[in-house]
Amino acid sequence: MSELDATGLSTLDLNSRLRDLALAGTEAIHVRNPGARHNLAVAMLHPGHVRFDGSVGYYCGGLSDGISIEIDGSAGWGLAESMLNGNFRVHGNAGNGAGAAIRGGTVVIEGNAAARLGVSMKGGTIIVAGDCGYMAGFMGQKGTLIVCGNTGEAFADSLYATMCYVGGEIKALGTDAVASAVTGEEAAELETLLTAYLPPEIRATKPPAAQFRKVVAGRKLWNFDKRNWKTWQEAL
């Protein structure tokens, strides 16, 4: 294991060192005193495990491919934004736009997420153990978005083909979002994911997979149809 103290290091220096360590095949990197600073561990393109000993600021691990990042605190805006592949775990809460536009990989938030969680996701899996904020899943194109707690308003608005699952209350569905019960097969898949990614003590406090609601696109916005003019007016 390799240890780095962020104190006194510029973000550029710290990130270069993280990249060098990952490139050299260091499996575990422990960063002390991240101090909620921004842009930490962005564009990490080699595998390895980086653990932050506290909160991180904006865009942590953005544009990365294959890195595993663990945050022993909370994360600011744009966590893992646009990542290609990798594994993120936040023990605390995440700010706006967590997992936005990811193409693959997994983002696990053990606390709550704020607004615009997983907007425009193009693949991958996002699991929030707590609640999420306004407009989560907006225009999601692919992948799976799981919220074990309650959602904010406009959930899964203008969705393409992201599969969303909600364990708690959906405050309000977005335009063209359709909620239904999960099938037996879906519940089994969901349970596999929840068991694999949530610590047992957290999993135990969440509803059983069969009680989750599934939210998908109603497909009314996929192609323009003037008979649906009212829906379009609302969507725009």
């Binding site: 909620a36 921004h38 909160s55 600021g57 605390g92 700010g95 709550n112 615009r116 904020g133």
Partner: protein
């Protein structure tokens, strides 16, 4: 961008609130170096209110200061101190405060009362938070709570008057800091001006102070005033407001501007970025992003 910060001590008794708010602001300085300011709340003066006057934007303030001191003598003003562009003094708490303010502001257009309160002191200036400390030594201020602002101006000019926090003229001890844009500002301003309300700046954030002040003067609490603000003000706002015994925040319906808060048994800290809270307050506590339409108010008992 702008950066806002607030710190509220839940128990009574003074803490180094100037020091905490200054450190919170320093960590946000990169969000806007145009101007910086604080609204700090100290122990209330017995039977007196603190008045802080901006003497001008440039030049020598000593003559102006003498004029102001002359103008406020009939109101029993005392304890004059002059720092930078500011004159500070106290007057008796009572019905004559309005007349005292009028007498000051009648001297010249650039002379402005920036705060009046039993506990409140507003200090703001052009430049970064570090300059604020070198000019006013705010880190030595002990009190119960405080707000801070560091500004990146987008639509109005950069000078002392346009800096934040804004005191709500006419409402003792009420101050606000705002990050965002009030998009129906011109409409609201027109309506207020038709009713004779004076605007001191062209900064859209000023209307937040005027709005909340109006609600509080009608007898609303800060929470009710926030509920009205959510209905009547459009645009993006992450906003903090404080009175002598309360501090609260309100976040717009779209979540366009960041705002994070930490609450423990002893304190509440709110800031634009977590880095600000972590830089100023050591220890172990959890930080959350405020959700859209979130509004919270903390009140000190006794």
């Amino acid at each position: 961008m702008c950066g806002i910060a607030g710190f509220f001590q839940k128990s009574s008794g003074n803490v180094a609130v100037g020091h905490v708010v200054l450190n919170m602001l320093k960590a946000l300085a990169c969000r806007g170096p145009d101007s910086a300011g604080v609204a700090l709340y100290g122990a209330p003066q017995a039977g007196r209110v603190v008045v802080r006057v901006k003497l001008g934007d440039h030049g020598k303030f000593h003559d102006v200061s003498a004029q102001v001191q002359n103008a406020v003598q009939p109101f029993g003003a005392e304890g004059f101190t002059e720092t930078g562009a500011y004159l500070r003094f106290t007057v008796a708490d009572g019905g004559e405060i309005g007349a005292c303010i009028q007498a000051i502001e009648a001297i010249a257009p650039e002379i402005e009362v920036v705060s009046v309160g039993r506990s409140l002191e507003v200090v703001k200036q052009v430049g970064s938070p570090a300059n604020l400390e070198s000019a006013f030594s705010i880190s030595g201020f002990n009190g119960t709570h405080g707000l801070g602002h560091t500004r990146l101006s987008t639509e109005s000019k950069v000078d002392l008057s346009h800096s934040q926090p804004f005191w709500a003229h006419g409402s003792l001890d009420l101050a606000i800091v705002h990050n965002g844009h009030i998009t129906n500002y011109h409409q609201l301003r027109r309506r207020y001006e038709q009713r004779g309300v004076r605007f001191y700046t062209e900064n859209d954030s000023e209307v937040v102070a005027i709005y909340l002040g109006e609600q509080l003067n009608k007898g609303a609490g800060l929470r009710e005033a926030f509920a009205g603000m959510m209905r009547d003000l459009d645009g993006s706002f992450s906003c903090l407001a404080a009175t002598a015994s309360e501090m609260g925040f309100i976040k717009d319906p779209f979540g366009l501007k960041p705002l994070l808060f930490a609450e423990t048994e002893t304190f509440v800290a709110v800031a634009t970025e977590e880095i600000s809270i972590r830089a100023a307050i050591p220890g172990s506590y959890s930080v959350s992003e405020a959700q859209v339409k979130d509004m919270r108010v903390w009140r000190r008992q006794g």
